[in-house]
């Protein structure tokens, strides 16, 4: 376990979470663009919990945990980060999780699109009265690692 946070459903907490996740991504050697993608996804996911699962009510519990994925674990040779969010809000309906078509110029409906575009794996489930969201981002191969991998494959 890299990090575990117990939050309340207050929008003011979002900037603190973003700073924390950004630092965690740096520690795990994510490139800047990847770190921004992870931060954006966590922020949007928490905003969805605040707005949809808890309907804007403050002070309700959210758990967030981050786990470092080791190289060779799951689908990446380089490893990555797994982020889990859990809330006790109303069950999310599949229809509410649908991104809006991007050619429609209207406010709203972009959060889930941002998450899906930014992370490698996104999975919503509900267990024991909790909404669970699992997001994974894999480290991109560094140029050196990619070159080394290429050399090995050529042998």
């Amino acid at each position: 376990m890299l990090l575990k946070l117990e939050l309340q459903s207050n929008p003011e907490a979002l900037c603190l979470v973003r700073a924390t996740v950004e630092r965690a991504a740096e520690v795990l050697h994510f490139q800047d663009a990847e770190a921004r993608a992870i931060v954006r996804s966590v922020d949007e996911a928490l905003a969805n919990v605040l707005r949809h699962a808890y309907g804007g009510r403050p002070g309700l519990p959210i758990e967030m945990s981050c786990r470092k994925l080791r190289g060779g674990e799951q689908k990446s040779a380089q490893g990555g980060i797994e982020i889990l969010l859990a809330d006790k809000g109303v069950p999310l309906k599949p229809a509410t999780l649908k991104s809006r078509p991007l050619d429609e110029i209207r406010p709203g409906g972009l959060g889930l699109h941002f998450i899906r575009e930014s992370m490698d794996e996104v999975e919503f489930t509900r267990k024991k009265g909790k909404n669970l969201l699992r997001m994974v981002k894999y480290l991109s191969p560094t140029p050196q690692a990619a070159a080394s991998e290429g050399e090995q494959k050529c042998r």
């Binding site: 929008p11 921004r36 949007e44 110029i105 209207r106 406010p107 709203g108 941002f114």
Partner: protein
């Protein structure tokens, strides 16, 4: 997040400082719509040079401002987008919908 308004050629510049997220996008939305709908400012320049982060609720507020400006026959002009803000615009596929300039000088000259 802080918002400050100052006069500019043909309109008003709104200087935004800080993060435009779920906690703060309502304030930006209010300032933007007040300028466009109530004051009927012909050109509203949104200075985003000091915006470190914008989320989907901030983008939604910008879209609402754009729609309001189109209804009023006025212009909403954005400038000074950071890499983070530009990425979110691109993810939203809205970068071609908004009038975006690199600098204040370019925005004012447009």
């Amino acid at each position: 997040m802080q918002i400050a308004a100052r006069p500019a050629t043909g309109g008003t510049i709104l200087d935004i400082t800080g993060d435009i997220d779920l906690a703060h996008s309502p304030a930006m939305r209010k300032a933007l719509l007040q300028e466009i709908r109530e004051k009927k400012t012909p050109k509203v320049f949104l200075n985003l040079e000091k915006v470190r982060y914008i989320d989907s609720s901030g983008i939604a507020s910008l879209v609402e401002g754009l729609k309001a400006s189109r209804d009023q026959g006025s212009r909403l002009i954005l400038y000074g987008l950071s890499k983070t803000v530009r990425e979110v615009m691109e993810l939203s596929r809205l970068q071609k919908i908004f009038e975006i300039h690199e600098s204040e000088a370019q925005a004012l000259a447009s």
